[in-house]
Assembly symmetry: C2
Homo-oligomer: 305 residues x 2
């Protein structure tokens, strides 16, 4: 049985799996990300792929390709990570480095765009020619499907988290004021609520729970987040005219308390534009890994053609 390795590299952990050609995991693993000083150690990925090669043999299979997805600015055509703040990488030719060591067909991708690829291919927006996948977690980014093409722009596309939705809003980690990410992300919701109340919360879902219990500060913070999300999405809709917007990440787990008001807010802002459906991600946490698997199978097909 031919298998591919799907590897989702994060700043704190690496999630990896062996997937069959139907993208079913036959084996999965999670290890803490290893660093040399501040810099994530590329050799760990090489070692992981070697271990997965043995694991494949243990499952009566054969590892035939690899997909690795990372955060940051990733030029997937060249297989170069341009900039990964969480990884300490700059202009790292990751694909070349890993091929050198493993000699396997290999594709490098961006974690969010790979998640989008998975949602657009086997998830919540299959066969849709114009769609947006926007995971909302600690940060916010988007994968854009435009006229049936996954937008790449040499790795720079989709940074919707840094659309300015309120020029007088809070400072963002990027240095700008009032970015969507600084108001509408799960991280921002928890942080802003904690600041206003003077007591920490476990996360955005707790803010939602408190709002439902009648907490007015929570309601205000949540409402500001919804409006920030709607503002950025409205601009994305007038520019790109998606038929479907897929919301993922931790915030999507809050369900109707997010989707109800977000749909209403978006509806109230769109006038002559085409109305997109707003739906929850189908693949949850595993979207990026599934996307890495899709990239790995692409690499296999390309190598054999």
């Amino acid at each position: 049985m031919e298998l591919v390795a799907a590897i989702d590299l994060g700043g704190t952990s690496i999630k990896a799996a062996l997937l069959d050609s139907a993208l079913n995991p036959v084996h999965s693993t999670r290890v803490p990300t290893r660093r040399v000083g501040e810099v994530v150690d590329v050799d760990q990925l090489g070692e992981l792929i070697e271990t997965l090669t043995e694991d494949a043999t243990g499952h009566d299979g054969r590892l035939v390709g690899v997909g690795v997805v990372t955060p940051g600015i990733v030029d997937s055509d060249l297989g170069v990570v341009r900039f990964g703040a969480n990884l300490g990488w700059r202009d790292l030719p990751l694909r070349e480095r890993l091929i050198e060591r493993t000699k396997l067909p290999m594709r490098i991708g961006h974690d969010v765009r790979a998640g989008g690829l998975a949602e657009f291919t086997v998830g919540a927006a299959v066969g849709v020619r114009n769609a947006i996948f926007m995971p909302v977690g600690t940060g916010i980014a988007a994968a854009l499907m435009v006229d049936g093409h996954e937008l790449h722009a040499t790795g720079y596309a989709g940074e919707i988290g840094h659309a300015v939705v309120d020029p007088n809003g809070p400072l963002c980690g990027c240095g700008q004021r009032g970015c969507l990410e600084a108001i509408g992300s799960a991280g921002a919701i928890a942080r802003i609520y904690a600041e206003r109340c003077g007591e920490p919360v476990s996360g955005a879902l707790e803010v939602a729970t408190r709002m439902q219990a009648g907490d007015e500060v929570a309601a205000r913070v949540w409402d500001e987040a919804i409006r920030a999300l709607a503002t950025a999405l409205t601009t994305a809709v007038v520019l790109l005219a998606p038929e479907v917007i897929v919301i993922g990440g931790g915030l999507a787990e809050s369900g109707d308390v997010l989707f109800g008001p977000l749909r209403r807010e978006l509806e109230s802002r769109l006038t002559f534009h085409r109305r997109p459906q707003v739906v929850a991600a189908a693949l949850g946490d595993g979207a990026s890994r599934t996307g890495a698997g899709l990239l790995a199978w692409r690499a296999v097909r390309e190598a054999s053609s």
Copy 2:
């Protein structure tokens, strides 16, 4: 000599030309748009194409294809004008109607997207894989080149004029408040200035002239427009990562008084993002017509292949 007809249909006039294969005009004409009641008369286009067929003969040429561009929501793949507020059209199968009458290879396009096609093909952003063309006149729309593909989204893409840049801003014709078009268009600049001063002006260029002469109201209106343009473009940049932004339309004729502050404002907002060049359109008023010519030659090539 083979010639194509390039027709730019507007709400008040039709600009048409016969272009050779190098897109040089060998003949051009302009006629007022004819209406039957509120609705623009399709037959006028048919008659115009017949006249242009004779004109081509008169120039020792032969009309071999037609490109027609219109405002509104245009599905250029199907050749259908979905919605043209200025034209009184809804779901009009324009391509089919004109082929029936003229039997010529024919393409229908959107005026702004066709202008973008011209700027991206023979104008200010040739060979750039990610670019935005944004004419700023009475209204504002954009043509988007994404990864070397002209974004279409069945005609709905590029409506950047209706990105909300100030939720408390003036009412827009579309029914929403604070759209870019209601603050940053040449039309809005003239209108807002006139409202604040109580005296009419000939247009946005006069507001610029007054600002340069020390008029503080003019300076404020102009500054608000620049900031509105920068706000919408920043979101477009973080989403689409264009390498070049081409500004056209009447406002681009104001030159440095527009481009200087707009470049500075955009530069001040972008943090880790790729910085686009902001340049003036090369084809001016004729971009849409040149784009119609490009569409016509495409129709010819497709018909012969």
